[in-house]
Point group: C2
Chain length 243, copies 2
């Protein structure tokens, strides 16, 4: 049963935080999209940090190719990085490759130190229930901006929703400083849309993705990293619901 | 006039945040004590990160020697690292040396990138008025725990009080993500006493220092780093009030 809940403001901070489980949050939009793809029945997803690697892996394994450069899918991509698009895409029974630099780096950074999950507001309750039932300590990791060098309000806000879900699932768990701050912060879901990065996403005409990423529990998926390599992380769902 | 207010969750984050001014916050207890010493009329203070260096500098220059190891002043020290003690100590017209590892490292990290100040709840309004009047951009830097590797709630909370004071002094200034979060956070002064580090300080029998560090505007001092070297930072007050 979960005894301790921490939150890392930046990926580098998590390296100083030993934990049985890490929940990586890149809510605008990688981990929201990942939670959504598995809710839609995707069987396996490779997050790839380099564009050519993403293309290569998709072609070699017959996977759907997803991702964006500057807000648009590059040539040859099947879909973008939009959770709204992912929710409608025919992904059931398919494998996928998602091109995301920041998300991939954060997912791989902690591999080998503990179990690593992809978390968002979208799958907060389902992921929290699984983690609270299987690990004694969990650290929520904000992926951040600028390749993880800068704090991002949206990841902290979604991380706070996850901390709340973990606390509800494990009411006796102790909270570290940043997790306590997140629990103390009002209007977490609204903060996702008030972040600097949300303004950029909105400027790309993708406001609907911000609304989607701010909604709790649209997915019952528990996406876990099962393997990592140079520039990629392979993710499978521990438990999924097709809902 | 100040146009932008940012907050760095950890010292390392501030290295990615170009700014004309940096306000280092190590509220339990180094920067609270520094603000208090200058309010009492201290003429110059050297923050030293190593114990023997602190002893050497104090002896060589006839300075008062202050600091603690495990909550007590080491042999030969005149005072501890307590702001309550500093408020009553006869420091007017004297120079001092303060032994503080975390505080010294954070003060020196950003030297050369911009003006560096020591900030706390204790001198929030005075420091904010000076910074808002002299610089176009300011970044509040949380010194953190574990040699700056870990987020500390108390420095974020005091940093939030400083962000509020800066916003009042420069109402048109834009807020970065973390500064916006700090402005959004209720009950900032109370959070200082709810941090993990406050529990340690309280365990040393120093609860009165936490109460002191949580009080706004007990000092009108604006302590600025005027020189840095290997393991030390020399600080002088830009404007002081003997009050």
């Amino acid at each position: 049963m979960l005894e301790r809940i921490d939150l890392a403001m930046l990926p580098a901070e998590a390296e100083a935080m030993p934990s049985e489980a890490y929940i990586v949050v890149d809510v605008l939009r990688a981990t929201t999209t990942i939670a959504t793809l598995f809710a839609g029945g995707m069987t396996s997803l490779i997050a790839a940090g380099r564009l050519e690697l993403a293309r290569h892996l998709a072609a070699a394994e017959g996977r759907l190719l997803m991702g964006e450069v500057g807000g648009l899918p590059p040539a040859g991509f099947d879909f973008g990085n939009s959770p709204v698009e992912a929710a409608a895409a025919p992904v059931a029974g398919r494998g996928g490759v998602l091109f995301t630099t920041n998300g991939t780096a954060a997912l791989c950074l902690l591999a080998g130190r503990g179990a690593v999950f992809a978390g968002a507001a979208a799958n907060a309750t389902a992921l929290a229930a699984y983690v609270a039932g299987h690990f004694r300590s969990a650290t929520i990791v904000c992926a951040g901006n600028a390749a993880g060098a800068r704090f991002s309000l949206e990841d902290f806000a979604a991380g706070g929703l996850l901390a709340g879900a973990l606390s509800e699932a494990a009411p006796g768990a102790a909270l570290g400083d940043a997790a306590a701050l997140a629990r103390h912060t009002p209007d977490l879901a609204d903060l996702i849309g008030l972040s600097d990065h949300a303004a950029i996403v909105r400027g790309l005409g993708l406001a609907h993705d911000i609304d989607f990423a701010s909604r709790l529990d649209t997915s019952a998926a528990v996406p876990m990293v099962v393997a990592c390599g140079d520039g990629w992380a392979r993710i499978e769902a521990v438990m999924t619901s097709a809902g």
